[in-house]
Amino acid sequence: MTESQIVNEWIRQGEARGRLLASRQYLRVLVLAKFPGVISPEILEQIDEQESQELLDEWFRVAVRAFIPEHFLAVLRRSPSA
């Protein structure tokens, strides 16, 4: 971090955006690799439009653990933006 609180605030905003963009990207990579042919464009759109870092983290953990796509899709449907 820098000696300026203002600049640190901008850097933190950038960090949050970077985490959000990377979260969406890795979740897409994960579900497309794990559930080939099952993930619809609507699901990908839902991932790309999600603004909550907490929710994306949760979706990622669920997708990693899910044995079948329905487990992941059910959580997605229950989430606030579904």
Partner: protein, 304 residues
């Protein structure tokens, strides 16, 4: 380089006339800016990576064959060794840089110290004998805090000072007063038509306000101002974005490895991942972790 130096360099580059006018005020000479000099090829005091904040080549209209170099240094805090260091810089530039078609002409070299807060504690380094022989070093000095913010704004509004003075107003006397900030907004709106440059002015104003403890007043005053078009603000946000992406890439990979190969990921691999600075490599490793049937298969990719 600190963020205040970065902000000052940016402001000086965007409107060099503003800084030149302040440094040369009352000196009885009108040196004209020609170009910025790349100082990376001249080792300066402080190590091989040390460069002067900015070096400008200036022309003297009264003596076209005798150009000047101006070493610009921005001081966010008082440095008691500044005169010594800049004297070295001046000497190095004098002895190593040449001008003219035959590259044999030596520049006259000046230093210009811009104090972003406080005052230059010692403006002259006098090492002369009683008869005047010896060395006397007297850089140009602009103590920004000694200027009056309100008068400067009116001079910009009348077109007597160039628009770039607006970068520095926050640092001047009275620069934290609500009336000055309101007037600053009016003058910026009237004199600067480019939206991106207005964003830059607002961004730099906030950074300088931070330096001199005027953030609350300027944040209040600049409420509603768009900063996202500012190159200087976006540069800092991009630094943060890159760091955020890297953190998330490491975290995602560790989550995948922990699930795919529970209990088999050694601490040293965790460390290796957490120390990896290449986003591209982390992306490859994540894909490899998803493709691998065994931890050994993943390790084989890691070793490559």
């Amino acid at each position: 380089m600190g963020v205040y130096d970065q902000a000052a360099r940016f402001a000086a580059r965007e409107d060099r006339e503003a800084v030149l006018r302040c440094l040369l005020a009352g000196k009885g000479v009108a040196l004209a800016f020609r170009d910025w000099l790349d100082t990376r090829s001249f080792p300066l005091p402080g190590g091989p990576d040390r460069t002067a904040d900015l070096v400008a080549a200036l022309d003297d209209p009264a003596a076209a064959d005798k150009p000047w170099l101006l070493v610009l240094e921005f001081q966010a805090r008082v440095d008691p060794d500044k005169l010594d260091v800049t004297l070295e810089e001046v000497a190095i530039l004098r002895s190593r840089v040449r001008h003219g078609e035959d590259r044999k002409g030596k520049y006259k070299v000046l230093a210009g110290l811009v104090y972003l807060q406080g005052r230059c504690p010692e403006e002259v380094l006098d090492m002369t004998l009683p008869d005047g022989s010896g060395t006397r070093y007297a850089p140009l000095v602009w103590n920004v805090a000694a200027d009056d913010a309100g008068r400067t704004l009116e001079a910009v509004a009348r077109g007597e000072f160039s628009w770039g003075m607006l970068f520095w107003v926050v640092l001047m006397e009275g620069g934290g007063e609500d009336a000055v900030i309101s007037r600053w907004e009016e003058v910026v709106t009237a004199m600067v038509s480019d939206r991106r440059m207005r964003s830059n002015l607002a961004g730099i104003a906030l950074v300088f306000a931070d330096l001199v403890g005027r953030v609350p007043a300027w944040k209040r005053g600049l409420e509603g101002w768009e900063m996202t078009e500012s190159q200087v603000v976006n540069e800092w946000m991009s630094q943060g974005e890159a760091r955020g992406r890297l953190e998330q890439a490491r975290k995602s990979l560790l989550v995948v490895l922990g699930k795919q190969f529970p209990g088999t990921v050694p601490a040293e691999i965790g460390r290796l991942i957490n120390e990896q600075e290449s986003l591209e490599l982390l992306d490859d490793w994540l894909r490899a972790a998803l493709d691998a049937d065994t931890f050994e298969q993943f390790l084989a990719v890691l070793r490559r």
